[in-house]
């Protein structure tokens, strides 16, 4: 449905997107993952024909974005990072305006407005001014605008950015509900969001494609070995860290136990499992059966940064150094 080949976008001074190639099949939900400034928005803007690529090609439903932009635009629904709303319009009036822009025949317009308003749960504010709506409602009006012409492809740029947790859940559910009818690309820098919504992930960093894979493959590849944080205390006091460590090491599936620190009688360990083993239940049982108290036990998730490091093969020190360097540059320039 979407095909991108060697896409490059250069702004006056910097390279925003560098030779990205990927394909998205019909009906898939694809997460476009990357830190801020990775080139997500730029790629989306090329796909929506907002701006032309510097080089490379992109096509949607077989139509090239440069050769036949009108055909592409008809088939795309786009929600930019800030929803493109007119605060002085009423919701229904706004949807009617967008519907006309997208070329919906007059006879169908009203029923389409009703349908998308219902789908996006904005039918109760149809006659309110957009400027008076809460952020969550505005986001949903933005989504309604994107799907009003029933496009084959939906492109959503950070659809949950800036919403409160409740609104985030609502928006995610809404997007999942749209999945059947549309091919969806959504960008985000939140990893769990991708895990919850998407079937496939495209990871980009600094304008380069880092990985593209299904969510299951990617997470299992990265989390084959589980890392668990454990904190143990004892009501009797005087707990021997080495004794506890020895006990934890005996649990089946454990490959390594690292003693992090201990204070006030609480001892903190990081436990790594063997590939593909779930060790949390056994760890808990081992601690409790030894008569100690289990204060804390949780899997240590890989942060997005760690995934990038893992995928790009850079080690942590280098990344930290690079991070420090980029922070120093603007300070130097300001002098």
């Amino acid at each position: 449905m979407i095909k991108v080949e060697g896409l490059t976008k250069r702004y006056a001074r910097h390279l925003a997107v560098d030779h990205i190639s990927f394909e998205v099949e019909k009906g898939q939900i694809v997460g476009f993952l990357g830190p801020n400034g990775a080139g997500k928005t730029t790629t989306m803007r090329v796909l929506t024909c907002f701006m032309p690529p510097t080089s490379g090609t992109a096509s949607v439903a077989g139509f090239d974005v440069l050769e036949q932009p009108m055909e592409v635009k008809k088939r795309i629904g786009y929600l930019p990072e800030t929803p493109p709303l007119y605060p002085d319009m009423e919701v229904a009036e706004y949807l009617e305006f967008v519907g006309r822009l997208k070329g919906i025949p007059k006879a169908q317009l009203e029923s389409r407005i009703d349908e998308v308003a219902r789908k996006c749960a904005v039918d109760d504010v149809k006659n309110k001014l957009i400027g008076k709506l809460s952020k969550g409602y505005r986001q949903r009006v933005g989504l309604a605008q994107a799907i009003i012409h029933n496009p084959d492809v939906l492109i959503l740029d950070e659809p949950t950015a800036g919403l409160d947790p409740h609104q985030i859940i609502e928006t995610r559910d809404l997007i999942k509900g749209l999945a059947g009818d549309h091919t969806i690309i959504l960008s985000t820098h939140i990893l769990p969001e991708v895990e919850q919504i998407c079937e496939r992930v495209i990871i980009i960093a600094k304008g380069k494609l880092v990985a593209t894979d299904t969510v299951e493959n990617l997470t299992s590849r990265l989390r084959g070995a589980e890392t668990v944080s454990v904190e143990v205390t004892s009501r009797q006091g005087d707990l021997n860290p080495l004794q506890v460590q020895a006990k934890l090491e005996q649990v089946s599936g454990v490959s390594r136990v690292i003693h992090k620190d201990s204070h006030d009688g609480r001892i903190h360990y990081t436990v790594e499992s063997l590939q593909g083993r779930h060790i949390r239940p056994e760890l808990a049982r081992a601690v409790v059966e030894s008569g100690w108290d289990l204060n804390e036990l949780h899997a240590v998730g890989l942060s997005l940064e760690e995934i990038f490091l893992e995928l790009t093969g850079a080690n942590r020190e280098e990344a930290l150094k690079a991070g420090a360097a980029t922070q120093e540059v603007p300070a130097g320039e300001s002098k």
């Binding site: 006056a12 701006m51 635009k73 930019p80 493109p84 007119y86 002085d88 006309r100 822009l101 070329g103």
Partner: protein, 254 residues
């Protein structure tokens, strides 16, 4: 069709904000004042000439309508930037320009729609001055043909300044900047022909030709001159052409 959609949205926007009402009220006030002054002078001249025992034929078109038209054309220079300043600047600021550009409509349809909306508001504003003209017809017998030509001239002049103002609005995200810049350019186009008062070289002639108001002169007299119509038509085309280029460059830079 798409042009009309955009045009309708812009017109609705004008009348939902205070802009349309403010501009129209101000115009009605000042144009009415111009008319009052012109009529007062006309009446005084009439009394003077009858006291001197001469019964010179007094021409309403020459003494009332012509000065009102020239004054109103200058007034347009001040009000037009207020009409055009938000057209694109506001869309750029709020990000709605992304919606327009990624919709299956052409840049030209967007530009024409917005320009047409501005022109309709301007025409509605001019329409308010018809009240004064109606009074002339109620109490006198002015010739309607020079009046029609005068209005045509005002609309043409407005259309050309609106096109230039639309272009300026694409250059910035800030309405106020667009308004002030538009006003400066209107002012420049007005005063350009002042040099022709003393400078009769070809440079002076060129500058006089470029001046917007210079070309309105013949219209205010009720004369239709193809030279002036061509000037306005080409200025409209030029302004809209620059708007199209500017909008396109937005995509390459954005």
């Amino acid at each position: 069709m798409n042009t009309l959609t955009i045009c309708r949205k812009e017109l609705n926007g004008y009348f939902r904000s205070p802009i349309a009402y403010g501009v129209m009220a101000f115009f009605a006030l000042v144009a009415g004042y111009f008319f009052y002054i012109a009529v007062a002078i006309f009446v005084q001249r009439g009394i003077e000439s009858s006291m001197q025992g001469q019964s010179m034929p007094m021409d309403v078109n020459e003494w009332v309508i012509r000065p009102v038209f020239s004054n109103v054309s200058v007034l347009g220079l001040f009000l037009i930037p207020m009409i055009t300043m938000r057209l694109f600047a506001e869309e750029k600021r709020s990000g709605t320009i992304e919606l327009l550009i990624t919709s299956p409509i052409t840049d030209l349809e967007i530009i024409l729609g917005k320009w047409l909306a501005a022109l309709l508001l301007y025409a509605a504003m001019l329409g308010l001055s018809l009240i004064s003209i109606a009074m002339l017809f109620a109490y006198g017998k002015p010739d309607w043909r020079p009046i029609a030509v005068g209005y045509l001239g005002l609309v043409l002049q407005g259309a050309c300044l609106l096109a230039i103002g639309t272009f300026i609005s694409t250059c910035t995200k800030n309405q106020i900047v667009a308004g002030v810049a538009g006003f400066c350019i209107c002012l420049m186009l007005w005063v350009l022909d002042w040099v022709s008062a003393f400078n009769t070289t070809s440079l002076g002639k060129v500058m006089a030709y470029l001046s917007v108001l210079q070309h309105f002169d013949s219209f205010s007299k009720g004369v239709l001159d193809s030279k002036d119509i061509i000037y306005y038509a080409s200025a409209i085309f030029f302004g809209l052409f620059l708007t199209a280029r500017s909008l396109e460059s937005l995509r390459w830079r954005a």
